[in-house]
Amino acid sequence: MLAQLQKDWLSNARNDLLAGLVVALALIPEAIAFSIIAGVDPKVGLYASFCIAVVIAVAGGRPGMISAATGAMALVMVTLVKEHGLQYLLAATILTGVLQIIAGYVSLGSLMRFVSRSVVTGFVNALAILIFMAQLPELMGVTWHVYAMTAAGLAIIYGLPYLTRAVPSPLVTIVLLTIVAIWLDLDIRRVGDMGELPDSLPVFLLPNVPLNLETLGIIFPYALTLMTVGLLESLMTATIVDDLTETKSDKNRECVGQGIANIASGFIGGMAGCAMIGQSVINVKSGGRGRLSTLAAGIFLLIMVVFLDAWVGQIPMAALVAVMIMVSIGTFNWSSIRDLRDHPRSSSVVMLATVAVTVATHDLARGVLTGVLLSGFFFAHKVGQILYVRSQADPDGRSRSYVVSGQVFFASADRFIAAFDYREVIERVRIDVSRAHFWDITAVSALDKVVLKFRREGTEVEVIGLNEASATMVDRFAVHDKDGGEDLLLGH
């Protein structure tokens, strides 16, 4: 156990600290930008990012993953903040944490296996689009200075790495653009105009809301969505970090850890957060592997923000917009556009539907639900195609044998029923289902229907070769060999 602790924390200390610093620098603009999306003061997002990163470093199940205030979560809370204010957001944040801890203990994480690759791709694409769209208000109805600064910022962000990879280019962008803005005394929006910045260390406080059912009724739906979105993004990011580092993570511990982090965040006046895909990729890219990288990111962030608050307030919004456009471009899965041509149409539809629903509702949970349902639908449809019924009349012309192979269930039951010729004038029918599989009661009642329809025509029916699984289903639910079965099934 001690050895595991040492491995998680200290095996990569130097790289972890450096990567943590790089991540902290990139987290500051994001935390501010996401606070603005949610409609709260920048300090809410900054405190949250500090708190979540520090707590998840200890409690999380995926070393090296970065969690903080995120865009996905910020988008969910917009209306709550608009209609009820910050205090209700803090209460919802705490409730989100409680729900996530419960989810962790009942192993809700294992449900992630129903989220297909197309849905994951749709999720990240929708997230990237939403982050980008959230920047647009900063670019509307402004002077040309803002456009020029944003363009210059993007040029530095993408250009500088060609010269040196030793310093984070988003930091250089922010510093340079801030200097230019102060020097030219430009009349443009700055971070300080967007709300209060942290000027002290965070303190413990209870959300100022009445503790009654009415409050619960307000915050519960939001907490439920926040829980879902937070766990979805966290578990997706954990899988991505697993792949990148070729190591394993404890998904249920991650759920519980996210919960603890959100509860802690709520109690120090921070908003709910979750794992960040972009930042985690940056962390791994910079050499961060252990828990120390996440902890360092949180602590560096707080130190920089608290001691540099006067300077942070001077950062032009154009610089943040440039950084966020980078995050959005880096999060988007560009190869998925190329893949639209090659992938099966159903996967593309799932991906596009996830994106469309998310962008339309600004709710990643709904997008993912749509995607999951659609993939289930398409899967059932595809498997339902695997059903073949062949028949052959016996030489004496008195009987016919049907051979059924494939999957019989709700999606293929109608095709199954239609595959038999009931009007054939014949004495006897033999249905061989030894190579078929009856999955559900729809399948069983379809077989009943077939048998009854033949009987009505005066044809004798013999069903042979029900394999074990099908036999249990038939035994339990079937009515064709019981009295009155005909009326019950055919309804008249």
Binding site: A3, L160, S169, L171, N333, W334
Partner: protein, 289 residues
């Protein structure tokens, strides 16, 4: 050549100065028991470390796919190199053991973590040979590699923990304390092919009370019946000091003792006799579980 035992001797080696010596002891044991010998070299992927020169903090188009591609190709190159050096190193050890007379030598490299891998490989093994310190302990000034205790605790097989110099054992000492573990050890040695021909000094020390003398006498009798030349001694006093002093005085070059009978929790508060003994005696030790 006599027929070989089925259960093999597993020698865990890493690329430290101990490896040669582990090979020598393992070969010595293999030759005596006439058991097949297998050298196991574990490449811990985690210890290969992360590279991180890119502090640009930028993510561009398809950042994730490109990073995955870059990291996997780095891993590929690194692991291939590690595999190659490991193979050369293992084949040298194999030759060394064969020269020393081991009847059947095999080598194996595995990715994984030391204790986990050993646990998986435990079946069909009758004796594990490992160094008291390995490459991991080279940089720190520990007397006892941190892996040793974890391995000993995790395994359910006798373990020969060797030092960095090979001396063919001529005289063995059994640190007998009357416990169930050491009593079973006596039976095991009586039936083992490893020790015949070695005089054994049965030493009982520590707080001597109760039926100590009787137990000691039983052990002496048992070993004598099995044809050993046995001397039994009952020396009250601080077990660690007595054992270390006797080993030195009597030119003992192989020690046998029970290992880690207590829980890790108890050890946290009271220390471990086993670890203390391993530290204070500079001779190869057979740890019984």
């Amino acid at each position: 050549m006599a027929e070989l035992h089925k259960e093999k001797i597993l020698a865990c080696v890493d690329q430290s100065p101990y490896a040669d010596c582990i090979a020598d002891y393992a070969a010595w044991a293999a030759q005596r028991i006439r058991a097949p010998l297998e050298f196991l070299h574990i490449i811990d992927r985690g210890e290969l470390g992360a590279s991180g020169e890119d502090h640009s903090g930028t993510i561009g188009i398809d950042a994730q796919e490109q990073l995955l591609k870059k990291l996997s190709s780095e891993d590929e190159v690194r692991l291939r190199a590690a595999r190659e050096t490991g193979r050369v190193f293992l084949s040298e050890l194999r030759e060394r053991a064969e020269r020393a007379g081991a009847p059947e030598v095999d080598t194996r490299q595995r990715y994984g973590e030391l204790v986990e891998t050993l646990h998986e490989q435990e079946g069909g093994v009758q004796l594990v040979v490992l160094g008291r310190r390995g490459a991991a302990a080279e940089t720190t000034q520990r007397d006892l590699g941190r892996n040793v205790e974890r391995v000993v605790r995790a395994l359910n097989r006798p373990i020969l923990a060797v030092t960095d110099q090979f001396v063919e054992p001529k005289r063995a000492m059994f640190a007998f304390d009357g416990s169930a573990v050491t009593r079973r050890g006596v039976d095991m040695i009586a039936n083992s092919a490893l020790f015949p021909g070695l005089p054994i000094l049965l030493l009982m020390s520590g707080k001597v009370g109760g039926d100590a003398a009787g137990k000691l006498d039983w052990a002496r009798q048992r070993l004598q019946d099995a044809g050993y030349e046995v001397e039994a001694r009952l020396v009250p006093g601080d077990a660690e000091a007595v054992i270390a002093a006797t080993a030195l005085k009597e030119n003992i070059d192989l020690m046998i003792m029970g290992a880690f009978g207590h829980s890790p929790l108890r050890q946290l508060f009271f220390g471990s006799k086993t670890a203390d003994l391993l530290r204070s005696s500079g001779i190869p030790t057979l740890l019984l579980r």
